[in-house]
């Protein structure tokens, strides 16, 4: 469990983290979202004990990270940004080194190294110099290092950065599995990744938390939440008729397929679900369509709104729901 309270970090004049408070429980996979320079990495570096905070406290497993620095670091596995490792060592040598510094010796050390090599599928390259490995393998070597001591807490800064789609998929599966009993914080730029692995999302902008909720909460903040998307060849004037359907607040039309068809975004009045009404309307009027579905909400749009700061009102409304 991690408890962060009123965390502030200043670098000279610049305030990187400006009063962040949250806590994460075992079983939670928390995704840190936010534009570059928002303070995600800085927050992670403070939790892992790499840099001290300017103000505020962090407790890991109930212990303060400054007073019990060594003890809290034992509980944390950390995968830093860009997955650094000693390039002149082989993967096995590097992992043995990390295991030794973590206090494992002899057979215990070897057992732990074997275990993480298997877990991260490094068998084929374990005796190669890390410098000669591909980006994907280097990422895994550093990830393996974070798992050596089977930590209750995992902190990962952009864990899938630079991986190919297959490797990303594998990595996400591993994270999901570990999320069952560990406390995990990861940062990402990829919204789809957050939706795939996280059960909680915190959006940070300019050093402050702007949204804290589940991925569904985030989607629900979108103006597309429960909006119906309709694609059809049917002729003009449809937008006006759709506006007449019960519960519809607004309709936007965009030409698609190079003008061969139209896509309508049909927005509901507050708190209403309009898919049944819209489909009934289409059936009653014998309108043919190629696509009709209710949207969950567009997370990328919410992300832009909350991080660009136009829509603090939106954020508050989202939290009310």
């Amino acid at each position: 469990m991690i408890e962060v309270s009123n965390l502030v970090k200043e670098f000279g004049e610049h305030t990187a983290v400006d009063g962040i408070t949250f806590s994460v429980m075992p079983g939670q996979v928390l995704g840190f979202l936010g534009p570059n320079g928002a303070g995600k990495s800085t927050t992670m570096k403070i939790i892992t004990g790499f840099i001290p905070p300017t103000a505020g406290t962090v407790r890991v497993g109930g212990l303060d990270i400054l007073e019990h620095s060594i003890e809290t670091r034992r509980q944390i596995g950390y995968l830093p940004e860009r997955a650094p490792s000693y390039a002149e060592m082989t993967a096995t040598e590097f992992l043995r080194f990390c295991a030794e510094v973590r206090g494992f010796a002899g057979a215990e050390r070897d057992k732990r190294v074997e275990h993480v090599v298997e877990l991260t599928a490094l068998e084929d390259v374990r005796d190669q110099i890390i410098d000669t490995l591909s980006k994907g393998y280097r990422q895994r070597v550093c990830f393996a290092q974070a798992l050596l001591h089977d930590p209750p807490i995992l902190i990962m800064d952009e864990p899938t950065d630079g991986l190919d789609p297959n490797q990303k998929h594998e990595m996400r599966q591993v994270i999901r599995q570990m999320g069952a009993d560990k406390t995990i914080i990861l940062s990402t730029h990829i919204l789809e990744e957050m939706e795939a692995v996280c059960n909680r999302a915190i959006v940070i902008a300019r050093g402050r938390i702007v949204v804290d909720g589940t991925p569904d909460d985030l989607a629900a903040m979108s103006r597309y939440h429960n909006a119906v998307t309709l694609r059809t060849h049917a002729g003009s004037g449809l937008a006006e008729r759709l506006r007449g359907v019960a519960g519809v607040a607004a309709v936007e039309e965009t030409p698609t397929d190079a003008g061969a068809s139209m896509t309508y975004a049909i927005f509901p009045q507050a708190q209403r679900v309009i898919l049944p009404e819209v489909t009934r309307f289409l059936e009653d009027n014998h309108i043919e369509f190629s696509e009709v579905f209710a949207e969950r909400g567009r997370v990328d749009e919410v992300f832009r709104q909350v991080t660009l700061g136009e829509a603090t009102g939106q954020a508050e409304r989202g939290e009310d729901q």
Binding site: F11, T42, K45, T48, G49, F50, I51, P52, S69, I70, E71, R73, R74, I76, Y78, P80, E81, R82, P84, S85, Y86, A87, E88, M89, E93, F97, C98, E100, V101, R102, G103, A105, I129, C142, Q145
Partner: protein, 244 residues
């Protein structure tokens, strides 16, 4: 203690995996032997001692030691491994001391490889073994003091060249403060106790006795306190500057 040994082992492995280590050792041997024979005219001195050999060490170390020390933290910072090392459950002092010891041992290896000089002296005459031994120990101790300064400058920057130059300049000042030509000039300007005080801060002053086989307690204390002070500064810099 265990983590410290692991870090020392890893650092040494890092040195010997890189071709730079072998290039360094070769340059070290060539320059120490070269200055002894060609600049110091060892053969013509008609003296079966390594006084000439050690005489050049404070000057050679100006270049050689910062070359070893410059990468110490700068490289970890550049590669990002500093973030791995300093989030492992070891305290900062352990990490700083371990890295220092590893580099010091590496320099010790280079210094030990100058043993043909000793053999040559024994072949040519009957040198005083004790003097040679104290010369080596003194040189090693002084190398540690240079190295601790390089460790410190290395922790200040990501850029190895900046680290090298800063370290070179600090060491140069510490060598020059005790350089005969300068101390004589200072004696003309200042009262003797001031020029003596200034000279007391110099590597040269404290090495001169040791290289002649005269081990004085205060010289040993001087080098050890330079090492201790610089390593402490190194810890403090890392404590405040880790992030950048």
């Amino acid at each position: 203690m265990k983590p410290m040994i692991s870090i020392i082992k890893r650092e040494l492995l890092g040195y010997f995996r890189s071709p730079v280590a072998y290039v360094f050792i070769i340059i070290f041997l060539v320059s120490t032997a070269g200055t002894t024979w060609y600049v110091g005219n060892f053969y013509d001195s008609n003296e079966a001692s390594l006084a000439i050999f050690f005489f050049f060490h404070p000057w050679l170390y100006l270049i050689l030691i910062p070359a070893v020390g410059m990468r110490l933290w700068a490289e970890d910072r550049r590669q990002g491994t500093i973030e791995i090392l300093l989030t492992l459950p070891v305290n900062l002092v352990t990490a700083v001391v371990a890295k220092f010891i590893a580099a010091w041992l590496f320099i010790g290896v280079a210094l030990a490889l100058t043993f043909p000089m000793v053999l040559t002296t024994y072949y040519l005459g009957a040198p005083d073994g004790g003097v040679i031994l104290t010369g080596y120990l003194g040189s090693f101790l002084m190398a540690g003091a240079y190295l601790s300064i390089s460790c410190f400058t290395s922790s200040l920057t990501k850029n190895q060249v900046v680290s090298f130059i800063t370290s070179f300049i600090i060491c140069l000042v510490l060598v020059l403060l005790g350089w005969g030509v300068l101390t004589r000039t200072l004696q003309d300007i200042f009262p003797i106790w001031i020029s003596d005080l200034i000279a007391q801060f110099s590597f040269t002053t404290h090495f001169n006795g040791i290289r002649r086989g005269l081990v004085e307690f205060r010289d040993v204390i001087y080098f050890l306190s330079v090492i201790g002070f610089m390593l402490l500064a190194n810890v403090l810099v890392l404590e405040t500057k880790k992030a950048s």
